[in-house]
Symmetry: C2
Subunit: 140 residues, 2 copies
């Protein structure tokens, strides 16, 4: 890829949050590593401009939330998995570390309820204030 | 979210491509709608600065590629699923339409081979030149 094309791709790839997580989990230290590890339910507050993109979602659906892990480090390329130094250094593309060049979080959750522009979802390990950048149905 | 916090989140969420898809599929018209619908294998060329993040991946792994669908429209909130006007207008968050506010592509693929900084993966419906923004292992 030429430098010019690289810059064009980079400039175009500016995420615009479509909503935000509202959770009882207030910090990374509070959060389990995966939703399946005892995480709570939370609210997704969808921003008004994006709300019509929810049409067709119903309680009981299984969806994927894609979040921007806004507290993650972007300069980390290798980690000890699960922060255990007895695990060998591993590339972040072979792990689910939140610290990675583009800290996108991927959360398979169930829709528990829909109230206007708010979705009750879970279980989810994302912390309060995490921007949501996409919502996709799980393909059956 | 206040306007200031919204702007801060938006400014921080600038994606930096970590690689690019090299595929025989050259345009959206050529591409099947999902990788499972007859898509070919393709190469992921990982940019040199990100290559050490691959350490630990091996042929046979199942991974998720997250791409930036650079030809998608970002101003679309509702679509007729599968471009069939007999399907009722549906919010893009209830569909896998590439046209959506943040056109992130999610591709579950197998690693066929690894050659230096290049991964042979498939099946994948992403077109040639699509930026790759993240690679994650599929959780067992």
């Amino acid at each position: 890829m030429s430098t010019v094309a690289m810059e064009a791709a980079s400039v175009g790839a500016q995420l615009r949050p479509v909503g935000v997580i509202r959770s009882a989990l207030k910090s990374r230290g509070d959060a389990p590593r995966q939703g399946s590890e005892g995480a709570p339910d939370a609210w997704v507050e969808v921003h008004p401009w994006a709300a019509e993109a929810l049409k067709g979602l119903v309680a009981g659906d299984e969806i994927l939330l894609i979040t921007w892990l806004h507290e993650a480090r972007r300069d980390v390329l290798q980690v000890h998995p699960r922060s255990d130094t007895s695990n060998p250094l591993t590339g972040v593309f072979a792990t689910r570390s939140p610290d990675r060049p583009n800290p996108l979080g991927l959360h398979p959750v169930f829709v528990r309820a829909i109230e206007g522009d708010r979705l009750r979802v879970g279980p989810i390990e994302a912390i309060d204030g995490t921007p949501v950048v996409d919502i996709k149905p799980v393909l059956k």
